[in-house]
């Protein structure tokens, strides 16, 4: 019945791709995807988990006087593991999406921590490319 109705209705057939596209859009409206789309719209290249991993462990000396810092200084080498705040020793829950589904569900929070932590670690804000790469890496873990 359905099949026949489909064939008999050119209007419905014509709408099918539209409905499909709409469904995809709804699915991608997850906070993480919205963030990544936002970065892309600001001119970032396609994101790479591999570049994200390299950035995660990159050692940087933001000032001449400080010891080299990286994301791993506080979060640990393995993003699925628990981290420790470098100065206060406070426990930091895992960053990897698989170990901590809470991560990247609040875009405001993500941006706040990027603002704070990029400045401390690299001595400058992160680019949209770096943010997208890191998020792609951490959400793939």
């Amino acid at each position: 019945m359905k099949r026949r109705a489909f064939h008999r209705s050119p209007l419905l057939a014509g709408m099918a791709p539209l409905i499909l596209a709409l469904g995809t859009a709804v699915a991608s409206a997850e906070p993480l995807d919205r963030l990544l789309e936002g970065y892309r719209s600001e001119g970032a290249d396609p994101f790479s988990a591999e570049r994200g991993r390299a950035l995660w462990t990159r050692q940087v000396r933001p000032d001449a006087g400080t010891r080299p810092r990286s994301c791993t200084t506080c979060h640990g080498e393995d993003p699925r593991g628990v981290g420790r705040h470098a100065r206060t020793g406070k426990r930091i829950e895992p960053m990897a999406h698989s170990a901590n589904p809470e991560r990247f569900t609040n875009p405001r929070k993500v941006e706040k921590w990027f603002r704070r932590n990029c400045k401390w670690t690299f001595g400058r804000p992160c680019t949209t490319q770096e943010k997208g790469d890191i998020l792609t890496y951490l959400s793939s873990q």
Binding site: H85, T88, K90, K112, R116, W120
Partner: protein, 383 residues
Amino acid sequence: MQDHTVRVWDEPLRLFHWTLVASFTAAWLWQGDRWLHLHLLAGWIFLALLLFRMVWGFTGTRYARFSAFTCGWREAWLWLREVTQGGGPRRLGHNPAGAWAIFAIFFLGLLLAVTGIVTQGGEERHGPLAGLFGFATGAGSHLLHEALAWGLLALLLLHVAGVVVESLQHRENLALAMITGRKRAVPAGLALDVPRRRGVAMLLAVALLLFILFWLRGSLAGGDDPFLPFVGPELPHDAAWQEECGGCHLAYHPSLLPAASWQRLLREQEHHFGEDLALDPDTVRRLQRYAVGHAAETTPTEASWKILHSIPAGTSPLRITETPYWRRKHREIEEAVFRSRQVNGRFNCDACHLDADAGSFEDGAMRLSRAAGLDDERSGERA
């Protein structure tokens, strides 16, 4: 000799006497914040015993009754003069000087108990008078409490000296008499034994034991954390504060620093101990509102009041650990302890303070054994 003794002190009186000695000694030894719950246990027993003795002064046996030894100061003075001249007439019950000592001990003892309860209500915000007095009253009462304790100690020493003198003059061990209840009857046959009143003594003993068990019920149940028989009011909390501050460190309760400090801290949020907090203006406003509204000036706790009053006027310290009160309170803790892995720095209050998150910093909510190399003895420091 045994034939010539007579029972003078009934059993409840003797039990009262020695438990009063024990409770005063215990309260004296358990001074300081760490032992506050035991100090209070001893204090309540002390007060209860005094009240019991008041009732017994009217309902007890012959020599226990106030009417048996109440006398004017002139009589006491004359009696003391006779003592200095080699000894007055021997008495079976309390002598006039002893009677005055008893009433003085009563008076000071009751004042001692009352000032103790006022101190607890004012400084700790718990006990029957919690919240009725401010910290200034509590602190004043604390001073008075200590002065009274010294005064009472002096009085007790005087009492002991009197007992020694009279024991020597009349060749009779009066302290032993307070244990056995018996004194020499001279001439024999003139005085009669007072009744034992063992039932009342048993009742008193059972009541004391039950009270002690009730007080220590949590400690006896065991468990890792210290038992707090009483706690002060719960402090207000804010979700944003918990989230923003607690992300990196203990979310220090705003009552631990004055409002000016919090305003400065949030104004300078781009240079927060070497970090840029990158908080958005809305969040900063919300945090400011909460911090200022619950800053040290609102004095919800003993710690907040003492921190506030230790800070020199016109200054707004950014570190709680910089305030004179904090420094004084932690001066005996060695640097190595703060550096130990378990503590990891002065700012980690919760390494030792179990209620650091709640911000109440109750005296008893301590677990010093959590920290490396720090034994419980060190916390015996006075408030």
